[in-house]
Symmetry: C2
Subunit: 331 residues, 2 copies
């Protein structure tokens, strides 16, 4: 018997693919491909939603469509490339209710409209799972493009929103954590999972041109994102502010949970994590203020490797090198 892919794991598979890929304008280790056309950067990215691994039973398929678009849009805007067109390959089982098929398409359409992207086409096929492969074409200027590498020691570390909410939302849906019975609170957290928002304005208005030195979208969790930025830029990070929402803190307190666990290792959110030259931080602040963008400074990059969180009382916590592993939502 030949060994199966499961014996190798996703990282090994990705490593193999990276060796085979051609060189484009963007480095291979980015989540978005790119090439130059008449001096413009054309970005090109794909992301798949699979109900088997990405979706709790009985969730509404509208959100599957929404999320497929969000994943692709987020990949593009984190590089400061403006998404303009979306297409999707929609593969579904024959037994899927027609109404769910329609929900998928409407979810995609709604997300495209929300992000200002044209939903232009695709392809329909049959498979045993619902497999939605979205793809986006984006356009930008060379001077704006932000990569995962590029952080320098001393840069400010910032994010576009709180972390961990989506993970709690998912665990609520799966019945893995106890609901607070405060339905408004629970619902808010669940919606953060089901209907994540890609940070389009933040991604496009804050770019290399305005002092951003590195950036990633955090679909695999804050810790994994920070480790990627750290490894590719050759820096470490010290975090002095935990990017947690009041809802998350309240929920964790009520349930006796460690908020840090959700903030750092949650995943399934699409916030941007980025670094900024300290001498240009004021530019970022001005732009954020002018356009009401979500920007929160949470720390600094350091010459010393490793990622450290220092809490308000001076306690030190080492952020572990572990990522989001797909929560299985087997049906």
């Amino acid at each position: 018997m030949e060994p199966a892919v499961s014996e190798f794991g996703e990282e090994e598979l990705i490593k193999f693919v990276l060796e085979v890929l051609d060189e484009g304008f963007l480095p291979k280790n980015e989540d978005c491909a790119g090439f130059l056309l008449n001096g413009k950067v054309i970005g090109f990215c794909t992301d798949s939603f699979v109900n088997k691994t990405d979706f709790p039973p009985r969730a509404n398929y509208w959100f599957a469509g929404w999320k497929t678009v969000t994943m692709c849009v987020s990949d593009a805007v984190s590089k400061a490339l403006e998404p303009c067109a979306f297409i999707a390959s929609v593969n579904i089982p024959k037994s899927l209710p027609y109404v769910d098929f329609k929900r998928i398409i409407y979810g995609m359409k709604s997300a495209c409209r929300y992000y200002g992207v044209k939903y232009l086409g695709g392809d329909i096929g049959e498979s045993d799972n619902v497999v939605l492969a979205g793809a986006v074409v984006a356009v930008g200027e060379k001077e704006d493009v932000v990569l995962r590498s590029g952080a320098k020691p001393g840069d400010y570390l910032a994010v576009t929103g709180p972390f961990g909410d989506a993970r709690i939302g998912l665990e609520l849906l799966l019945g893995k954590v106890k609901a607070t019975k405060e339905s408004a609170l629970d619902r808010k957290l669940i919606l953060k999972f089901l209907k994540p928002i890609a940070r389009v304005e933040e991604g496009l208005k804050l770019s290399k041109r305005t002092g951003v030195t590195s950036r990633i979208d955090s679909s695999d969790g804050l810790a994994a994102s920070l480790w990627l930025l750290a490894d590719l830029s050759g820096v470490g990070f010290v975090i002095d502010k935990l990017p947690a929402s009041p809802e998350l803190l309240e929920f964790c307190e009520r349930n006796g949970l460690d908020a840090k666990e959700f903030v750092f290792y949650g995943g399934e959110e699409y916030e941007l994590v980025f670094t900024v030259s300290p001498d240009r931080w004021h530019e970022v602040e001005e732009i954020a203020k002018k356009h009401s963008l979500n920007v929160l400074r949470i720390g600094r990059s350091t010459a010393e490797k490793g990622i450290l969180f220092i809490d308000a009382s001076g306690g030190e916590y080492k952020v572990q090198r572990r990522g989001w592993t797909h929560l299985r939502c087997e049906r």
Copy 2:
């Protein structure tokens, strides 16, 4: 119980999606989306390969990778748009042998190299079937773009190669037709199914600028392609030459099969089917000769609706309005 998608059929699903899609530069009924960027047309298309429906048991996965690229490239070049970058969402079961995963990636890489397209990235996910969703970005000039609509009565009808070989190859693989025991002949037909070639040079060198009035790539069979051109252009066709290879004719004679059945309703080949203004046919001929392109004139479009094949002895045969339905290759 909500009715399932199987009760509606692919056409109904496509109709629903078409109503939801946004308007782009290319009409919605094309297999390729498009938008304008600085005066250039950017084409953007996706196509999925699913082993459940598209692949005979025990076939080598290298061909699955090859075919995924070919499908996307063919969609682009049939519009006279030059494909420049390819990405793929590769969804596979955990039990897939690692060697088959590598074959998929190598097959994609080989096809990209063959077509002069850069293989720039993608995404890996888990699903119960092998679902390969390829996407291509292509570039072209407005003046070149060829649509499915546009054929005028009197136009010449032409194709870039013979039809039916791939279907016989597939049926040989599935054991549905008897092998001739002439292994070279059988192998040639099987290879036409496993390793189809998109007609890149023909698609790009022959365009609207050189007199092509309408075009489609024939992945659903010659009859289905002709009916689409006919319906969208508002014409009919008379065919006076059956585009069949010597191999197909030999195979059908040996097996007592009707060659017309395979030529018109075979599918899974990626030849281009196109119409040309009669007064510009000489241009097409000259370009074909100069660049050694495969171009075969097989008939004419007519004001009268319907599609008729008239054989060498004057016998008339009505080409039916039936397409390729995916041959189930259930494993």
